[in-house]
């Protein structure tokens, strides 16, 4: 390099202290500003603008609450979310109680119960659920035949509640079991020692101590349901907030203020719930396990109780497996209508999707793969900057990336549509808002918080002395990162990649707004399209099976990677 050229010298003095980390930090900040902060800020801002004049106004909110449909949607969204929390609690509570209080052989079954629902996106199972539990679904046909009654499991909002609570109850199960396990045995023993026992002790000591964990899980379920677009759409329930936002923007147009008002409300609720769940966990960290402690004392079940426990678990297992079962029946069934089971079985639907719809699968692999790649690159860069450098404002990268948690997919979709609507891309790639690359970015932004956590955890396990050792042996900062830090983080990064990939592969709410044409559409959108018509249900379900397989494989892989990492860490630790 010739240092004598004027421009090079000047650039040097202009940015005297810009290290590689600073450049990366600035680039990431620009990315997050452009694809997260600004689009969302714009959506929130437009909610307060008069559609015609562009002046600041509260009129839109007034219009919103003066419209019966919107008021109803608001109440419905609230009702559905709250009821989903209630039903999910009814499922999770007995499971958590059985695993943490008793010596029970079925604990493995319960753990499986906590994962099975999560590998199927709720919208995928929604149609299958209506065929099983709907008015003319298998269960009601049988009930009607034998008992002469029908139960409206799937009628209107009930359907959304049922599908969502079956999908999301693991959030409550996991949080509640963790807090129950975190209660030290001595908490209970002290109460018994002072004369308390039984239900009274449970109510006064155990339950209050488990409350924060429960509430944190419940808040998460609430907001996931509140924000979800796919499930109500597939069940054809439109009088809820997220579907209304989608329908207004795609139906009435990008300038309709109602879509923005709804987005505003969704964001406010998301932020509030996340904040509340954060407070529940932070303010009252009741983890009371002491050294030598070990969770609540467990007792053996009496034979009768054992039967009862198995009964409860099998019932819940049947419920939890029903979307999977329904989907299988749909995918392999010929015609399934007004009968408990399909008329016959075939593999023809899989043939259909491979000949007609292989682009969905291909697109999904490309989109989710690229998004996951972006996530782990950004995630490890942010993790490194936040944990290992003293860059001013580095915490804000973390905050910005994590803020994506509070942004519902619909809102991000609307934000991109609004922001990149008029932007023409070069080389004849068309409008930026309908360019397939934007789907990748949306997926990447939405999954970044999860990948970031994985990378942070991975980096925290790399002892800083390993880096110092490399540097003291003469390695530069960048070659230390390349040769020491990244290889040691591989496991965590890989786990982050797989998780991002698997969840991005079935994301629907942001992509549904950004898909320009069906040749650009991913799997989730394909399922949505197929499920619109009764004839498309078979192939739609076949695609759904594919989606479930992808997510299940991903979950399994990331679990394996994390476990392998953990055992590697512990064996490495033992050598000290």
């Amino acid at each position: 390099m010739s240092a004598s050229t004027d421009t090079a010298a000047r650039r040097f003095t202009l940015f005297p202290t810009l290290s590689g980390a600073a450049v990366a930090g600035i680039a990431i900040a620009i990315f997050l500003l452009a694809f997260l902060v600004l689009p969302v800020a714009q959506v929130l801002y437009v909610a307060f603008l008069d559609a015609r004049t562009g002046a600041f106004t509260l009129q839109n909110f007034q219009d919103f609450f003066n419209t019966t449909l919107f008021r109803e949607s608001f109440v419905n969204s609230f009702y559905v979310s709250a009821m989903s929390v209630v039903v999910a609690t009814m499922i999770a509570l007995p499971l958590a109680y059985i695993t943490t209080r008793f010596n029970f052989a079925g604990t493995a079954a319960i753990q499986a119960l906590g994962i099975i629902p999560l590998i199927m996106p709720p919208f995928v199972g929604a149609v299958a659920m209506s065929l099983l539990f709907g008015r003319n679904g298998s269960i009601n046909l049988l009930l009607n035949q034998y008992f002469g009654l029908r139960i409206p499991f799937m009628e209107g909002l009930n359907g959304v509640i049922l599908v969502q609570s079956i999908h999301y109850f693991p959030f409550i199960l996991i949080n509640l079991s963790a807090s129950l396990r975190n209660i030290d045995r001595s908490m209970e023993e002290a109460a018994q020692n002072l004369g308390s026992h039984g239900m009274r002790m449970f109510r006064r000591i155990v339950f209050p101590l488990a409350m924060p964990g429960y509430l944190a899980g419940a808040a998460l379920v609430f907001i996931k349901v509140f924000d979800d677009l796919g499930t109500p759409l597939l069940l054809n329930v439109n009088n809820m907030l997220a579907p209304q936002a989608y329908l207004r923007i795609t139906g009435v147009g990008i300038n309709d203020p109602m879509g923005y008002v709804i987005s505003f409300i969704l964001v406010v609720f998301s932020v509030f719930s996340l904040w509340a769940s954060f407070l529940f966990m932070r303010g009252k960290d009741y983890a009371t396990v002491q050294k030598g402690g070990g969770g609540l004392s467990r007792r053996d079940l009496k034979p009768r109780e054992k039967w009862l426990a198995w009964g409860v678990i099998l019932l819940i297992l049947a419920l939890v497996l029903s979307p999977h079962l329904g989907l299988l029946l749909l995918a392999f069934g010929t015609i399934w209508s007004f009968s408990p089971l399909p008329d016959g079985f075939t593999i023809q639907h899989f043939g259909t999707i491979f000949t007609q719809s292989s682009q969905y699968v291909w697109n999904t692999l490309v989109y989710a793969g690229s998004a996951a790649l972006i996530d782990v690159v950004l995630g490890s860069a942010i993790a490194y900057i936040v944990i290992r450098t003293g860059l001013p404002g580095r915490k804000w990268l973390d905050y910005m990336a994590t803020a994506a948690l509070a942004v519902p997919g619909v809102v991000l979709g609307i934000g991109y549509l609004r922001m990149f609507h008029g932007t023409q891309l070069p080389f004849g790639m068309g409008q930026m808002s309908s360019f397939w690359g934007i789907i990748i970015i949306a997926l990447a932004v939405r999954r970044l918080p999860y990948a970031l956590r994985a990378c942070m955890a991975a980096l925290q396990q790399v002892s800083i002395s390993l880096e110092e050792a490399a540097e003291s042996l003469g390695a530069s900062r960048s070659s230390t990162i390349r040769r020491i830090v990244v290889p040691l983080m591989t496991g965590g990064i890989l786990a982050g990649f797989v998780t991002s990939f698997a969840t991005a592969a079935v994301e629907l709410s942001a992509t549904i707004m950004l898909v320009g044409r069906s040749s650009d559409a991913p799997l989730a959108y394909g399922i949505y399209l197929y499920m619109q018509s009764p004839a498309g249900r078979g192939p739609g379900a076949a695609l759904g099976i594919l989606a479930v397989v992808i997510v299940a494989l991903g979950t399994y892989l990331s679990q394996r990677i994390i476990e392998r990492e953990r055992s590697r860490q512990t064996t490495a630790g033992d050598q000290h």
Binding site: S186, M187, E189, A190, N193, L194, G195, L209, Q290, S297
Partner: protein
């Protein structure tokens, strides 16, 4: 507050976790109002025994009487035995006041009676001014006192303390053990104190039981156990001990290496003697066991010598007077023992 004093009697108690035997043939009598310590190394079964008295853990075989009531088959909440947990086990979702009131509320005492009792208990431990704090806002020592107040508020017949001082720092530990003893004397409560720290047991307890591997090795006052240990485990566990193997020959104890030591006490069955480091005198010449200084440690008020002798290494403590210690490493010395002070062992 007046408590009904009750003694504890444990008869032939056995306890196992599944196949693992943890306590075997425990027998002891604890007098009413006594401050009694369980002392033993980690895993010796101290906590298990204490918890069995409180009613936690597997049901033991044998009898545990408080006063003259056998409590082995009573559930914990019917025993009226107060236990202070090592971790304090304060409920983090209740204020100090509500923690202390809990036991009284569970006894369905009218509210008007609870308040004064809670205040009295907090007054006793000197924490009345912190009554409305949450446990998370208290220091370790304060939490400890709240745990104590919570337990004495129910006026138990017996007070059980499982390593109550182990979570405190050294200075506070000394202060708290004095306060604990003062409180125990004031209330006259029969108290069992579990510890693996011999100094703690020595300074507080009237009597103590030394446990090892689930078996009681010896029971007695701290001085009895120190001066007259029954076996080398007790001797070694209570302070530093030089244990010499050998046998009696007339007025002398003859060691393995053939040294003849004058020992006043005598027993033909004794196969070992215990010599405390401070009971051995060290001189540069004269009669006695000759040895070489291997190592010297300055301990402040004392100097500790490690001395190679024909019977192996011996530890000798001498008082330190200002100035250079007289014997350096490698010096040849002669050790003579105080013939009154040797304790005899038969194991």
């Amino acid at each position: 507050m007046t408590q009904t004093k009750a003694g504890i009697r444990i008869e032939n108690l056995h306890l196992s976790f599944g196949e693992t035997k943890v306590l075997e043939g425990i027998d002891m009598v604890i007098e009413p109002g006594e401050f009694f310590a369980f002392l033993g190394p980690s895993g010796s079964g101290k906590s298990t025994l204490l918890r069995a008295i409180a009613g936690f853990g597997p049901t033991p075989r044998g009898r545990i009487l408080i006063g003259d009531r056998d409590i082995v088959n009573l559930p914990p909440w019917k025993r009226n035995v107060g236990m202070v947990f090592q971790s304090y086990a304060l409920w983090p979702h209740m204020s100090v006041r509500r923690n202390v009131a809990f036991g009284l509320e569970e006894r369905r005492m009218p509210t008007s009676k609870i308040a004064p009792k809670v205040e009295a208990a907090l007054e006793t431990v000197g924490l009345l001014h912190l009554a409305d704090r949450m446990p998370g806002q208290l220091s370790g020592g304060q939490q400890q006192r709240v745990a104590l107040a919570r337990t004495i508020a129910i006026e138990p017949q017996v007070l059980l303390l499982d390593e109550p001082l182990s979570n405190l720092d050294a200075a506070l530990r000394v202060q708290m053990r004095r306060e604990l003893l003062a409180l125990q004397r004031k209330l006259g409560l029969t108290t069992i104190f579990v510890t693996h720290d011999q100094e703690e047991a020595n300074t507080t307890s009237d009597r103590m039981a030394v446990l090892d591997m689930g078996v009681i090795q010896q029971i007695g006052t701290p001085q009895q156990l120190y001066d007259h240990p029954v076996n080398s485990f007790v001797a070694g566990f209570l302070g530093t001990a030089n244990v010499l193997d050998g046998a009696f020959d007339g007025a002398h104890f003859v060691t393995k290496a053939g040294q003849r030591l004058p020992v006043t006490a005598r027993s033909d069955k004794a196969t070992r003697i215990v010599l405390r480091p401070q009971n051995i005198r060290i001189a540069s010449s004269g009669d006695g066991v000759s040895g070489t200084v291997r190592h010297r440690e300055f301990l402040g008020s004392q100097i500790r010598y490690l001395i190679d002798t024909p019977d192996g290494q011996m530890i000798v403590d001498t008082l330190h007077a200002t100035g250079q210690p007289p014997y350096g490493e490698g010096a040849t010395v002669v050790l003579s023992i105080d013939s009154q002070s040797a304790a005899l062992l038969e194991d």
